[in-house]
């Protein structure tokens, strides 16, 4: 049944206690996203029966709280600008792609390219994330409770990636900047990514990120990785390579 509230009646229909329920078993994703684009700060929304549909809750630009009650498909919470999106399930490819600020929290696993090109905000994945997590991240903070796949933080430019499990091959390949913290093992480091000392300020930063993600891991158990900055400049010894 569709319980989608028409935008013009939102003010009377929505209260802080009662989230507006959008049941996607009988309502198109386009209506959900349009209603979320028309939403006002402080509203709460629940998406029922998401059924792995694509592009759920994309482009939110108000301080709303959206709960997706089930599994989301591709590009959930993409281009997220404000507010919070919580997925009570798994998320498909391209979760929170190009997130600008606000937060996105997945209680299950996320597929490939989570938080790709994110400029800001916080993305929390309680389970595992697939390959290329945080690819080309540009300022987003990502906290993954489980493992991440290969080529994560590829060409990362800014932001922080925290992994409480293990990381796959080629972590941080061709990384410019961004700080990576991994508690478990790293299968291999990519080009120009190196382990760096975990100093007091990093422990403090990590503690803050873990707390923001609702986690209780000990920051001292992590290792820090980042750019060796050898790829920043043209090196004459490599001239014959071009």
């Amino acid at each position: 049944m569709v319980t989608l509230t028409a935008p013009e009646s939102l003010e009377t229909a929505v209260t802080a206690e009662a989230p507006t329920v959008v049941d996607l078993s009988g309502s198109p994703v386009r209506s959900l996203n349009q209603a979320l684009h028309n939403a006002a700060d402080g509203q709460s929304w629940t998406v029922a029966n998401p059924g792995g549909k694509h592009s759920l809750a994309v482009g939110i630009n108000a301080d709303v709280s959206v709960t997706i009650d089930g599994h989301a498909g591709y590009y959930a919470a993409g281009m997220h600008q404000k507010g919070t999106v919580t997925v009570n399930g798994n998320a498909g490819v391209g979760l929170a792609e190009n997130i600008m600020s606000g937060s996105v929290h997945v209680k299950g696993d996320a597929s490939q390219s989570a938080a790709a090109t994110g400029h800001g905000g916080l993305v929390v994945i309680d389970g595992n994330a697939g390959a290329r997590c945080g690819i080309s991240m540009k300022g987003v903070d990502i906290v993954v409770g489980g493992n991440i796949g290969h080529m994560s933080a590829f060409m990362a430019q800014a932001g922080r990636l925290v992994v409480c499990g293990d990381a796959g091959d080629a972590l941080g390949d061709s990384i410019y900047e961004a700080r990576i913290y991994v508690k478990g093992t790293v299968a291999s480091l990519g080009a120009d990514c190196v382990e760096k000392p975990l100093r007091e300020e990093h422990i403090a930063e990590l503690a803050e990120l873990l707390a923001a993600a609702g986690r209780t891991d000990n920051p001292a158990d992590f290792k820090r990785y980042g750019s060796a900055r050898n790829l920043y400049h043209f090196h004459v010894d490599n001239s014959t390579a071009y």
Partner: protein, 302 residues
């Protein structure tokens, strides 16, 4: 893109629902490849029966009446083979109580132009060009029972949109392979297989994968070993599902560009390109859902 939906039923009480479950999965992946489709069903009463081989021929029209085809095939087989022909949608199924080699010989002598798209005691393969849901309806998938099923919606990239180019490719008894992706060195592998005497039906890159797996299985590989070897020989981006008389396997290339998601319960194991194809399966809320690791071969047996 291409879409894959595959289902292996562990609980025999679900067998009557195989077709309707597979059909509901297929309907969610049509967007991924609407140009053509293929279906494979295993141990489906009415189409297949134990002790009899069945050949799936492309097309409903083999250039002669069903009676003439039946008589032509029967005349070339022992008298107790009880050859039978039935047309299902755009597919002609020829069955007889003989081995597949003998049946293939009888069919190709009767209809030299026939394209055999499936063979074995346990599998029927159906393919066509057009909207995948119409193809499924035309073949009556919804009502089919069975132990396993496989479907593929194709977005052609490496060869033409023809029924023959649709997946699955079934090139050895009860073996089916479907593919999302492309093999970049299929021409080289094809040449090598041809040199070993393997004969090809199409220009499709997926057929190379299927012929390679069949060749490895013939040389004594297990299904898992054959797919590990495939990973060493065939280059490209792919997610593959391979089924045999009693097994199902999933493997992705080591870079894992092509999607795959698996749901496992006590009653079934299901694989699809996207979660939304699995969303309607019974007990999905309590299933173990995961994405297969890159380069790792997963197998399940009935």
């Amino acid at each position: 893109m291409c879409g894959i939906a595959a289902l292996q039923l562990r609980n025999p009480s679900l067998h009557p629902k195989m077709g309707s479950l597979l059909s509901s999965m297929l309907c969610q992946i049509v967007d991924r490849g609407p140009d053509s489709a293929g279906l494979a069903v295993y141990n489906t009463p009415g189409l297949l029966s134990p002790g009899r081989s069945t050949l799936s021929l492309l097309g409903r029209d083999q250039g002669m009446t069903t009676a003439a085809l039946t008589a032509g095939v029967a005349a070339l087989l022992p008298s107790d083979a009880a050859a039978a022909v039935q047309v299902v949608g755009d597919t002609t199924l020829v069955g007889a109580a003989v081995g597949t080699d003998l049946l293939v010989k009888a069919v190709t002598e009767t209809v030299p132009a026939a394209t055999i798209i499936g063979r074995g005691e346990h599998v029927a393969v159906m393919k066509s060009v057009g909207h995948p849901m119409e193809i499924a309806a035309h073949h009556g998938l919804e009502a089919m029972a069975g132990s396993q099923g496989l479907s593929h919606t194709r977005m052609a990239t490496e060869s033409a949109v023809t029924a023959g180019g649709s997946h699955p490719f079934s090139v050895a008894d009860d073996l089916c392979l479907v593919h999302n992706g492309s093999f970049s060195n299929h021409a080289t592998v094809r040449r090598n297989l041809k040199r070993e005497g393997v004969v090809f039906d199409s220009e499709n890159d997926t057929e190379v994968g299927a012929r390679y797996v069949a060749s490895r299985l013939q040389q004594g590989d297990t299904l898992e070993e054959a797919l590990v070897n495939l990973g060493n020989v065939l280059d490209g981006f792919y997610t593959l599902v391979v089924t045999t008389a009693d097994s199902m396997a999933v493997v992705r290339d080591p870079i894992a560009c092509k999607p795959a998601i698996i749901a496992e319960t006590e009653d079934y194991v299901a694989m699809a390109s996207e979660y939304r194809a699995l969303a309607g399966l019974p007990g999905i809320d309590n299933a173990r859902i995961f994405e297969p690791e890159p380069g790792k071969v997963y197998t399940w047996s009935l």
